[in-house]
Symmetry: C2
Subunit: 409 residues, 2 copies
């Protein structure tokens, strides 16, 4: 089931303990597992607050939890008992140059770096936070505060439009893995570990700044308005097709714009319009400024074609385009994609599961694997890593300090 | 200006060549520069297709390009000339255990791994693609095909709602850095480099699968509908306040829900409603199912308070909340945040710029730095890395093969 024993994988041999819930931490831990690390997710007995998070399968298992925890080993321990905390501390600070790496979002004192580093001074610990000052936050509250919902959605909707994709969570997860691997590189060079903190709110703030959106408000002294489905600062918008579908079309560069005009047979009309408007549509700024004049000129070409026909012609002309799909359609279309396969998941049956998007020459694509059953590796890990005997494990189980695999849901 | 000489940084000494444009590759390269790597961005003379991308400053410089290329060294070379290509190839394949790392999105044959690995067999090359089969794609076309726009936006809007944040680009950038650092870890262990490919479309597809959204469509046999600003599968929505502002409030766990009820004084009414509806609002599923009954009960509490008052009380009660802000307000509120500072940027003046959200114990926060002027490090890099003499550089300049710093815009 899990792939952590494959010695050819980039992170083979590395051991990471994960004490994290919901999306950010677990998605980062999963990426490390997909790269070959042995990722041990620690949960309280019965599971963390994300263990039943929606969407759930008709059979009761969380498709969300399964999706975000594939390929890890699962250990469940009574985290309120001193003996349980000691087991987790021992797992985190176990010796070895490839161990001593912790990814967490708990904010708990007994997992503070100060406490843990007493046991293993070169521990690498990455703590994910809501806000940098310790205030809690989640993707959706952070997103509101970035300003992005205010520029999202139809121009006619005054209210902010929330994103559905937890983009900040996902981005924080991969920022965390980048930070952990950079810290590992440093430890290998210098022997030093350390605490790395990463706040969801800071990831979001840095991103809107990096895109130039804060500097734009600062230099123009005003906030931009909603643009509906139009791309900001160049040309891109969606078009309905003859078969009542919709495609997204983007001309980000002058050459993409020329291709779009050529394939849609609109070169002459745009040349005439450029002259009349004193515009130059080869420039981003002018394509953006006149987007509402450009869009209606292109629309009939799409209305004359099915989405498939339009896509074929646009593709041949190397115009950037994408069909709009529902999740059902995505699933159907991606049946041939080796990134997605039906995998038997706990409490869910065989369901569509994703591998890693990173494709490695030599080792091939990393296929999707199952999530662990909650607690499935408790005994195995405590015996492997801490050398606990069968007698120790039995005593801890009887005392309620640890628990093995739970039933399917 | 650039910080690549600071020996205490996690990636100090590492050299990465970046031949990439727009968001994904450059944002990844920038993250490596912020971790201390010497990141050399190579562009054609005059700049890549992203060099003037919006938003632009009134003075003409691209706030977007500046934001995504901070702390790198910039080299401009005639990429259509054989001699220019040879210089770039030599930079990429220069010897040293800390060099030989390439991040690119060009798809060009002269930058194929086969060609480059002949010169340096242990080269690590990460190639970002649109689609895995080589078809071009950008964030906005990929996003349409994920299914996300179909579940985003007001319930009353039938049409898909595009995101504004290029979430897939940003996520691909940090997936790329994770892949590069994992490959470096493997090369240090085994001596082997290799090609790693990463398609924007695969990052998006894997993400919607990881969140359980494809498996949900598969197991239920239907597509979920739009939920407006409601959080899917639990309780979270925005509320207007007395001062005509708006706050986002989320109760993801039973304990957060109890806190929200307590602070808003709604415990009794919800208890009565739970009895009448035979519901249990401590369960995600019931909070979600009855969200449109719950929302109006909470609303008056918000209408009685300013956003600041509501935030203060919610914060004290540890309820998850966030204010909605415009970019101008974000800028104003984050003035005290060390992550953001005004930095003199090429062609833009002193503008709000972000450092790295990763906070390192021992080395402190990484402050924002400037982007290079296009081509500013051409001579320096070719002399440092390839040992070119002043006479070589003069000859190459005269022949138009290289160019140094361009004027401000």
């Amino acid at each position: 089931m899990s792939t952590h024993r494959d010695q050819d994988r980039p992170l083979a041999g590395l051991r990471v303990v994960e004490c994290a819930t919901f999306v950010a931490g677990p998605s980062g831990g999963m990426a490390l597992a997909q790269l070959g690390a042995d990722v041990i997710r620690v949960d309280p007995i019965g599971g963390g607050p994300d263990h039943r998070r929606w969407p759930v399968a008709p059979a009761g298992g969380s498709l969300y939890w399964n999706g975000l925890n594939k390929g890890k080993r699962s250990v469940t321990v009574d985290l309120s008992a001193p003996e349980g905390r000691e087991l987790v501390t021992a797992l985190i600070t176990a010796p070895g140059p490839q161990a001593g790496i912790l990814l967490e979002n708990t904010g708990r004192a007994w997992l503070s770096h100060e406490t843990l580093a007493k046991r293993r001074p070169d521990l690498i610990q990455l703590r994910i936070q809501g806000h940098a000052d310790g205030r809690p936050a989640v993707d959706y509250t952070v997103n509101a505060a970035t300003g992005v919902p205010g520029v999202t959605g139809p121009e006619t909707t005054a209210a902010p439009v929330n994103h559905v994709l937890p983009a900040w969570d996902l981005l924080t997860g991969m920022t965390a893995t980048t930070g952990l691997l950079a810290a590992l590189h440093r430890r290998q060079r210098t022997g030093r570990g350390g605490l790395i903190e990463l706040a969801l709110a800071d990831v979001a703030l840095a991103s809107v700044a990096n895109l130039g959106w804060l500097a734009e408000a600062q230099t123009t002294g005003r906030d931009r308005a909603k643009q509906g489905n139009h791309l900001y600062g160049s040309f891109g918008v969606d078009f309905p097709t003859r078969d009542r579908r919709r495609v997204m079309v983007v001309a980000l560069t002058a050459s993409q714009w020329r291709s779009l005009c050529r394939v849609t047979g609109t070169e002459k009309v745009f040349a005439a319009m450029e002259e009349a408007l004193r515009a130059d549509f080869s420039q981003d700024a002018d394509r953006y400024r006149w987007r509402k004049m450009i869009e209606p000129i292109l629309r009939p070409w799409f209305e004359d074609r099915t989405a498939e026909e339009a896509g074929r012609e646009l593709g041949a002309a190397r115009v950037l385009w994408g069909p709009y799909r529902t999740f059902t359609e995505v699933l159907e279309r991606e049946r041939e994609n080796p990134l997605i396969a039906d995998v038997e998941q706990p409490g869910a049956g065989a369901v569509a599961s994703a591998g890693s998007p990173l494709r490695w020459s030599g080792t091939g694509p990393v296929p999707p694997v199952a999530a662990p059953r909650l607690g499935a590796h408790t005994h195995e890990v405590l015996s492997d890593v801490l050398g606990l005997t069968q007698a120790d494990l039995s005593r801890l189980s009887r005392a309620g300090v640890i628990r093995g695999a739970s039933p399917d849901r």
